[in-house]
């Protein structure tokens, strides 16, 4: 990365991080909502651990993977809404008049998502462990969980950037939230894949990449070090991020041409 590009990314990253930190409306729901659902689900679905073949006797440990994914979904909204606001207020148009590179803009905008992803991951993990969840992979596993959470948050954040650049409208980005939530709902969120009895649901959940991202977290929490599950999880996060970045770069070009 050239010094000039690094400087551009740095400036935008600083702005993105400060903007995220100054919006409690973005941070608080992203922390509270997943933890509330974790509390409710781990209490309400405790009996699922009695099902033959359930991988752990602690539903809290099993369910702890879910907040990391919910946090990543919030990053779609946050990254996308921030960029959409820049488009709506004309800030992007002003940037277009500068020699700023597209790569710098997109990378810089993701800095806020990275910081939020980090805060979320540490909070979810700390609260989960304090509440009594297991972490079979130990301290090293905690680091990998945080790394995976940040990777997932950034990957989904790129989708938010793409949505914002395509629509240029904050409300349209917000309306995508339920769409992304469907991916979480129709996954192995509540039960392991092999315990999902409804065939069509099992088939969709098996084809849903979110199930394998969840499994990567669960492997560290429940089993210890399962390199296959981890590699698959990181590969999916990287692929989503790469596709999202490629799509966002294309949408940025189109938007700047329109500008």
């Amino acid at each position: 990365m050239s010094g000039r590009l690094r400087n551009q990314v740095g400036q935008l990253a600083r702005r993105s991080v400060l903007r995220t930190l100054r919006q409690p409306g973005q941070i608080v729901p992203a922390l509270i909502f997943p933890l509330f659902l974790l509390a409710v689900n781990s209490g309400g679905l405790k009996d699922a651990t009695n099902l033959p073949g359930f991988p752990t006797d602690s539903y809290l440990t099993f369910a702890l993977a879910v907040p990391f994914m919910q946090g990543a979904l919030f990053s779609v909204m946050n990254a996308g809404t921030d960029l959409a606001r820049d488009i709506e207020t004309g800030f992007l148009n002003r940037l277009a008049l500068t020699p700023l590179r597209g790569a710098a803009l997109l990378s810089g905008l993701l800095a806020g998502a990275i910081v939020l992803g980090l805060v979320q991951a540490v909070t979810y993990l700390a609260v989960g462990l304090i509440a009594g969840a297991d972490l079979a992979a130990g301290a090293g596993g905690a680091l990998v969980i945080v790394l995976l959470a940040v990777s997932t948050t950034v990957a989904f954040g790129t989708l938010g950037l793409f949505a914002a650049l395509r629509t240029g409208n904050g409300e349209a980005v917000q309306s995508l939230f339920p769409v992304f939530f469907v991916f979480l709902f129709i996954s192995s969120m509540a039960l392991p894949l092999d315990l999902i009895q409804t065939q069509w649901f099992h088939d969709i959940a098996s084809a849903n990449p979110v199930s394998y991202l969840l499994q990567a977290y669960r492997s560290l929490l429940i089993e210890g070090w399962n390199l296959g599950d981890l590699a698959l999880g990181f590969a999916i996060a990287t692929t989503i991020g790469a596709i999202g970045m490629w799509a966002a770069a294309g949408a940025l070009k189109t938007r700047l041409v329109r500008t």
């Binding site: 729901p29 509330f36 659902l37 509390a39 409710v40 689900n41 209490g43 309400g44 679905l45 405790k46 009996d47 699922a48 009695n50 099902l51 309306s175 339920p178 939530f181 469907v182 709902f185 129709i186 969120m189 509540a190 039960l191 315990l195 999902i196 009895q197 409804t198 069509w200 649901f201 959940a205």
Partner: protein, 254 residues
């Protein structure tokens, strides 16, 4: 006069609801997603030791999703009220209506009509998905009657908030308490199978009685009917007072 005002407000609200995909689609799709995710993804829970619900897990979850959609139908109507205040339209209502209670009544009627549409779709999907219904006509009337009262309660609550805040920014305040009280009830398994703090909270949560009665109706083995209807009738009356005082605040604000 009140009836005419209510009819006019309801007519406009329903037209906005039906004419805008961004309102009608989530109202129908959200409950379906919850239903699919819970009834489809969690059906193995019915095999957990101690889980004994004669009509099956699909019917067990149907009742929750029905009451949830009833509550959120009311909350989303509150969003509409807040939007009307933001745009200034609600102030025109206040100026034009001789009996302003008709405005709240109109919004409540609109909330019920949109909920009826959601329930129709949800019921059809549930039946197509193979939901077993053990209850007869009277019992099903009881189930949908509970849903109507829940819808009315949530509308009165959300209207009270909307007329106090008079901005869509009050949305989380309308939504979050409803979400909280719904999910702190026995959503996934019967109360008897819950343990720890969630059992303690669910035991005193009024929604628990509504869910238990609703599930009793659908399985044809009614339980806690008197308690559930006492709660379901008392709550809208209580929140009607809340909405009424909210209306007074809005009137005072001009």
């Amino acid at each position: 006069m009140t009836r005419q005002i209510a009819g006019a407000v309801a007519w406009r609200s329903v037209r906005i609801f039906i004419g805008n995909p961004q309102f009608i689609v989530p109202a129908i799709v959200f409950p379906l997603f919850f239903f699919i995710a819970f009834a489809g993804g969690l059906s193995a829970i019915a095999d957990a030791p101690g889980f004994d619900f004669p009509a099956g897990y699909t019917a067990f979850q149907f009742v929750f999703v029905l009451l949830q959609s009833a509550a959120f139908g009311g909350v989303f109507t509150g969003f509409g009220i807040a939007r009307d205040f933001e745009s200034g339209f609600a102030r025109r209502y206040l100026l034009a209506a001789r009996d302003r209670r008709g405005i709240v009544l109109g919004y409540a009627l609109a909330a019920l009509l949109r909920a009826l549409l959601t329930w129709t779709v949800l019921t059809v999907v549930a039946l197509v998905a193979g939901m077993q219904v053990g209850g007869g006509g009277v019992e099903l009337f009881g189930l949908y009657g509970l849903a109507v009262l829940v819808n009315l309660t949530a509308t009165m609550w959300a209207a009270g908030v909307a007329m106090r805040v008079r901005s869509i920014q009050g949305g989380p305040l309308m939504q979050f308490p409803v979400f909280l009280i719904l999910f702190l009830a026995p959503v996934y398994v019967p109360l008897a199978l819950l343990s720890g703090w969630i059992h303690a909270v669910a035991s005193v949560n009024p929604v628990t009685a509504l869910l238990e009665a609703g599930r009793g109706f659908i399985s044809g083995e009614p339980v806690v009917v008197a308690l559930a209807f006492s709660i379901a009738i008392a709550l809208p009356l209580l929140f009607a007072l809340w909405a009424r005082s909210g209306l007074k605040r809005a009137e005072a604000a001009g």
